[in-house]
Every structure is written in structure tokens, then in C-alpha cells.
């Protein structure tokens, strides 16, 4: 019974993410257009884009087409697997399959797929993009890990449902570490969802979408889908970790509050993305290094119970 419930919950999460992700993308594009005084595409446009791409010709340019296919399918598959682990308004469905350390490394696997795709494509621009993507991952993965570990240290647990429930504030004294990590994650959130000013690895105007440059047709559709889903999943993670208030309400209410918060976060991302210019990779790395130093201070505070 319990297993069945967790499988159903996981499937529900996957369905929600798949359905909602293009919608958020549409909102994002529309609002960006409004900020820049354009009319912008209709909100449903991303759905049509995806459908259209699925039917387009699929050109494989790399040395190993098998690797290219593998990387693409795995990319969306990993994102969907992560969706099964993250609570989306309810508790995490697949609690019995893994813990937060697994979550950290699974999120890395999403990035690895993009990397492999870029490396396999064989274009110099893709390799350039892959190298940049990896450099940002070196800096970002630990930031997210610190946030999770702060929660784990406070609650002395690694369970998904315990940690992904505002655990960063769960210390006995005033949760300095949680507050600091909230700031740090907010300042680096654009990078997690790969939007301006930290979309350095793709940088359309500069290296022509980097790792994705050589991809077309259904492969591009899957990559884009994975990217949109990542926005939803990271927002959900952020909300469950740092803005837990109100989720415990009665069924429809708590659920609505949760998605309202996610939408708010997406709007914030859009606002920042539309009003900032892209950083260079070396500037970004210095920025992340500074954030990482602050995060480590937060971790030390957390280990002393603050």
C-alpha cells in the first residue's frame, strides 16, 4: 500500500512538472516582453514550440550519435526522477528511496547530461559551453549542498520530508545560518535555473547556446523541456527549504499557497533576468567563490547550533 502510494505520488509529481513547466516558461517570456515594451508571444507558445520541435528533422553532428541520444534522454529522465523526490505541495513521495545527499548528487547528474551532450556534439562552441557549464557547476553544487547540510545538521536527519521542510531554521537558537543561506541562495538562484545574468554556459549572443548548439528537432525539444522543468523543480526546492510557511494548511489551501509561492519565485527570476546583463565567466566565478565563503561561515554557525 505504502509503495503504491509513493509510486502514485511520484507519478503525480512528474505529471504536474511536465504540465506546468511550459506554462511558467510562457509566463516568463510574456513578462520579459512586457518589461522590454514588446508584445511578446502568447502564454501557451512554449507548448506549441515543443510539439513543433518534436516533428522537425533531427541532425546528429558528433562523433558518437549514440552518446548524443543517451545524453538527451537521460537529461529529461533525471529531471523527472528528481521530480519524484521533491515535495510539491505534499510530502516527498519517494521518501524510502533515498535521502538529501542523493538529491544533491542527482541534481548534479542533470548537469552532467548537458555536459555529455555538449562534449559529444563535437563543435568548438559546444565544448566551450560545456567547459563553462562545468565551471559553474563546481561553484554551485557546493552552495546547494551547504543549504541542505545546514538543514541536516539542525534536524540531525537526512530524510527528504524532514529536511525539505524549512529545516534550515530548525535550530534551537536564532537560526543565523538559515537566514544567511536564504540570502546566499537568493543571490545565486538565477544561476541554478540558468537565466540571465548567469546563463554563461549558453549565452546565445556569444557562443550560440553552447552545449545545445548542434541539437535540433526532438533532441532540442527534450533539452528545452528539461530546462523548463528544472526551473519548476528548483523553485519548489527553494520554497520547501526556505519558505515553508503555510504549506501545512488544509489540503487545497496549503497546496495553493505552495504553488503561489513558486509562481512568485518565478516572477522574481523573470524580473531579475529581464533587467540585468550577463556576467563574464571569470566575474561569475569570483562572485560564486565569495558566496561560497559566506556559505561556509553559515555552515560553521550551523554546526555550533545557530
Amino acid at each position: 500500500m505504502k509503495t503504491l502510494l509513493s509510486i502514485l505520488g511520484g507519478l503525480a509529481n512528474v505529471a504536474i512538472v511536465l504540465l506546468v513547466a511550459p506554462f511558467f516558461q510562457g509566463v516568463l517570456r510574456k513578462i520579459t516582453a512586457l518589461i522590454q515594451s514588446r508584445q511578446g508571444p502568447p502564454i501557451w507558445q512554449p507548448y506549441f514550440d515543443l510539439l513543433k520541435l518534436l516533428g522537425k528533422e533531427d541532425i546528429e553532428s558528433g562523433e558518437s550519435p549514440l552518446m548524443q541520444r543517451f545524453a538527451v534522454y537521460l537529461s529529461l529522465a533525471t529531471v523527472l526522477t528528481v521530480a519524484c523526490l521533491v515535495p510539491m505541495g505534499f510530502t516527498a513521495p519517494m521518501n524510502a528511496a533515498g535521502d538529501v545527499i542523493l538529491l544533491i548528487y542527482l541534481l548534479t547528474l542533470c548537469g552532467i547530461c548537458t555536459l555529455l551532450a555538449g562534449l559529444a556534439a563535437g563543435s568548438t562552441y559546444s565544448l566551450l559551453g560545456a567547459s563553462r557549464e562545468m565551471m559553474t557547476m563546481i561553484a554551485l553544487e557546493p552552495l546547494f549542498a551547504v543549504a541542505i547540510v545546514v538543514g541536516a545538521v539542525h534536524t540531525q536527519s537526512f530524510r527528504l520530508d524532514t529536511v525539505l521542510n524549512g529545516s534550515v531554521y530548525a535550530s534551537a537558537a536564532f537560526p543565523w545560518s538559515g537566514v544567511i543561506m536564504f540570502g546566499v541562495m537568493l543571490l545565486s538562484f538565477q544561476a541554478f535555473v540558468q537565466r540571465v545574468p548567469f546563463d554563461i554556459s549558453e549565452a546565445e549572443t556569444e557562443i550560440m547556446e553552447g552545449p545545445l548548439m548542434e541539437y535540433s528537432g526532438p533532441k532540442l525539444a527534450l533539452f528545452k523541456y528539461a530546462q523548463m522543468a528544472k526551473l519548476v523543480i528548483y523553485s519548489a526546492l527553494f520554497v520547501t527549504l526556505f519558505v515553508p510557511w503555510g504549506t501545512g494548511l488544509m489540503f487545497p489551501l496549503g497546496w495553493l499557497v505552495f504553488w503561489a509561492k513558486v509562481t512568485g519565485l518565478v516572477l522574481l527570476v523573470t524580473l531579475v533576468a529581464a533587467t540585468h546583463a550577463r556576467y563574464r565567466i571569470d566575474q561569475a566565478i569570483r562572485y560564486f567563490a565569495a558566496l561560497l565563503a559566506v556559505a561556509l561561515v553559515a555552515l560553521v554557525l550551523a554546526s555550533y547550533g545557530y
Binding site: 533531427d58 548534479t108 568548438t124 562545468m134 547540510v149 537526512f158 569570483r286
Partner: protein, 630 residues
Amino acid sequence: MLVCFSGALVTWTRACRRSSAGWVAFATVVVSSLLVLTGVGRVLIFGPGEPVTCLEVYSIGFALRLHVDGLSAVFLGLIATVAIPSALYSIEYMQHHLEHGKGRYYPDFLIFITAMYGLVSTTDMMWFFFIFWQMMTLAGYTLIRFDPMNPGRLRAANKFLIMMQIACAVSMIGAQLLVNAGGPSSASPMLRYDFGSVSHHLPELLIKSPGIVTTALALFLVGFGIKMGMWPFGQIWLPDAHPAAPSPVSAMLSGVMIKTGVYGLMRCFLWLVPAKACVDYPIHYWGVVVTLLGTVTLLTGTVQALSQDSSKRLLAFSTIGQAGYILLGLGVCMTLIGSADRAVSALGVAAFYGTLFHTLNHGVFKSLLFLNAGSVLHATATQDLNKLGGLMRYMPVTAVTALIASFSIAGVPLFNGFASKWGIFTAAIQGNPACRLLPVCVMVAIITSAVTLALFMKFFGVIFLSRTSLLVANRARRHRRLEVGWKMRVPQIALASICVLFGLLPALPISIIRRALEGSRQGFGEMLAAASPLPSGGWAGIGSSNHEFIYVPVFLAFVLVAMFLVTRRVAKLGGSQRRSAKPWLCGYAKEAEMNRYRASNFYAEVKRCVRWMGGAPRPQPEPVPVPDDK
């Protein structure tokens, strides 16, 4: 069991004095390894036998006393598992060197393996430790300087020799200190240097003169630390010695030989001191020291590896990094296990499981990586990553096994490296109240694991993906077929399947380790055996009994594969046509070789930020052209 084992030693060295055929060597390795493995199995199932004593010289305490308990059994198993593939691999790999005579290579190879078997099963801390160590070092020395194509080999081999002799001397001084201070021994002088009798005296010694024990332990730490590549000693010899040796030997050096250092550390710090004396034994502080050393080692080793352009040198630096993980795990275990709180000491035990598991894993995937690098070297005659590219099309088997190994070492879920790191990390973070330092060390380790990932994405990407380089294209045109023969493919496939098996069923090695610890009750081994922190059953994965941490790879794999199939189906829904084309190079397709993105270009900004950590890449010596035998 041990009689068969010693018998095998003799036949070995005999049989291989003949210059004919690696097959004899392979056969002897297989026979002896099978004997060793059955012996290991017997120890794990029925518990350890009695120590076997032979070759006694009464007056100076000279006695070969072999005793295989659980801990030795695990390491023996690892050595045997890696030795068989390496020996098979050697046959084809060494064909280049016909003119130099396998007469020199194979006997040394066998002596090397023999010495390692001996080193992990002797209980004698002085004479036989010395003899086995020297056998291992000298054989290793000749093996490292064997490869005639490598101009830097003499320097590398000399460094190796000197560092190993220092390590040997330091550990022996440590042992002598303990024995001398032990006073008139109650045991017969023959067993003066025996591990058991030293251990027997230790409690009173800890009370009488703790200074001497501390000095001795510090000497052991240095001695075995040199062996396992601990910072700062590892950086001196390891990155030179590993690339200089022929690849199967590098695999043995990195996968197995440095593990004898791990074995030594575990023996000295956890098994030597009886558990009842732990009040006088500051294991907590030793743990903190080892944890810090481990953290520094893993960070420096991995970051220095990032800037390497030579395949085997990169792997050698990452060996230092992985040795750091093992040290970190051991340190965490030692920090927590001495605690009076039972929950905390159980975490220490969990960390120990993770450490030993990681030791096994590293033995498997790092030797696999060295074999992969060897295959590439065999096929293209270069170690220079800048000149390689696009080999996946030509060497699919090597490429896939290298991908599995890279995923394992980078800690991708579902592979074995993740399972063992997971064990160390969870234990260390939960152990926070006992030692405030641990979460920060774990965080450094997590940062480092991201760097490891970067490292192996570069390693795999520039060799097998990227774009076919001029060199590879030329070789492919000349040889028609670049993939190595079955004698080199089978070992790679075998090791890769161990990686996948241990990754999907981590409960299997965990239960082996549990059996081993139950058969090894001495010192803190008793405590390690008493607590069983990671209850696990067949398919259920591993986790703590209170479900505070849990990892079920089979279930996860099921979900991931299901999702993979779904996405694959979705991709075909639109009915789009596939077509292959050349990548678009902005009209500079003719200069494709010039505008390739090379290995040295990767991660330039990060490399600039961490330049102060050292490890600048060596300019690569042009290798002497290989005699073409195909």
C-alpha cells in the same frame, strides 16, 4: 589455506623465470588468486584460522607468522581481484616490449603481487614487514623503470625507491620504539615483534610512557602516509611513478599498492590498541589529525589533477585525491568511535564501513581507469590529452568502460563511488555534535567531488568525445582498427561490471565487510564488529535502522530507467527523420585541427583561481615512436 598460499608463492617465481609467454604468468596469477580467493571466502564464512608460523630464527625474533583475519581477507580479496585482470591485460600490452624481454617484466610483476599478499597477511612488525616491503619496493622499482619509451622513467623510479625506503625506515623505527619500550617481554623472544604481543603490552605502555606511543603512532602515520600518497608526501613520488610505469603496473600501483598503506593505517590506529585501553588512548585527537590531513590531501590532489594534460598523470593526481577521501573516512571513524555515547560510536562504525567500501571501490575503478588510459596509449601511442579526440567511434568498448569508471569515481548515483562516499558523508555530518569540524570537512569533500566530476568529464570528453583529432585520424587510417584486442577488452569489461554491481547492490560489499569485521576482533575491531550500523538486505539498499538516512539504488534505477524509456518514446512521437552531418564550424572546417577545443583549454578560469595550490603540468616529452607491430 595458508599452506596452499605459500606453495603458490614458490611455484610462481619459479615458473616465470622462463622468458616464454605471459600466459604462464597469467596462469600462475589465476591459480594463486583463486587459492587466495577461496581462502578469503573460507575466512569470511568460517572465521579466521590459527596463525601459521614458519621460518623461525629464534635469537633475533625472526619468524614468519602469517595470519589472515577478516581485515586482511578484504584486502587480499581486492588484490586478487585486480591482479587477474591486470595479468591478462599485460599479455597483449607488453607485446611492444618483446626485445626487452618479458623475462624481466613478468617475474617482477609476480614478485610484486606476492609481496603485497605477504604484506597484508603477516603479523610480524619488523623482519617480515621489512622483507615484504623491500620485495614490493624493488619489484615496483624495476617495473616503473621498465618502459623504454618513457624518458622520465629513471627519475620517477628513483623517487619512488627513495620515498619507499624512507617510509619503510620510519615505520620500522616506530615498531622498534614500541617493542623496546614494552620492557622484558613475557612472550617468547621469537614473537617479540609480533603484532599480537605488541598489542598485548600496549595498555600498560600507554599509562607508563604515552610519549613513546604517540611518537610511534606518528611515525606509522608518516610511513604509511607516504605509501598511500598522503599530502604532502604523495605529491612527491606518486604523480611521477604512476605515469612512468606500464599501464597494467600503474593499475596495480594505484589500485592496490597504495591500499597497503591504508591497511597499515587501519591496523595501527584501530587494531593495535586494545579496546579496553581506550581511556588512555587519545583516538579522538588522532582522528581529528587524520581527518584534517585527509581533507587537505583530497583537495590538493584533485585540484592539482585538474590542470594536467597527460592522461596517466591526471589519474595519478586523482589517486592522491581519492586517497584523501579514504583518509577522511578513516579520520571520521577514529574521531567518533572512541566516544562514550553509543549512538556516536555507531556512526564511527558507519564511517568505517564507508571507508573500507571506498577503498575497495577505488581499487576497482582506478585500476580500470588506468587500463583504459593504457588502451588509449596502446592504440594512439600518446598520453597527451591535447592530441586526442573522438575515440568513441573507434574504441567503443574502452569508451563505455571508461564512462562507467568516470561516473563511479565522480560519485554519480547508481555507481559504486557514490554509495561509499554517501556512507562517509552521512556519518560525518551526523557526527557533528561530537566534533564541530566534521561538517566543514565534508563540505570541502563535496566541493572536491564536484572538481572530480569536472576532472573526469574532461578526461572522458577530450579522449572519447570532442572531435576526431589529426593524430587519431591518421592512426585510424593506418591501422583500420584501433580498438584493442580481446585480451585487453575482457579485463576492462570485468572491472566495469564490478563497478555496476557494487553500485546497484551496495548491500553486497557491506555484508562482506560485516563478515570480515566479525572475523577480526582485536582492538577496536571488536567494537566495529559489535555494532552493525547499516542494516541492509539484498535488494533493499543501505540505510540506518531509524531511517534517518537511506539509499536504495535498485528502486532508483528502476525509476530512472522507466523515465528514460518514457523520454525515448516521447522523442519518437513526432516521427522526425534522423540525419548525420558535420558540425558547423563557422566556415572554418578546413582548419578543424587548429580550432579544436583542447584539454589544456578546459576550465581555464578555475585553474587560474587555484594556481597557488601547485601542480603545474609538466611539458610532455615526445615519446620515442612505437615499433609498429600490427
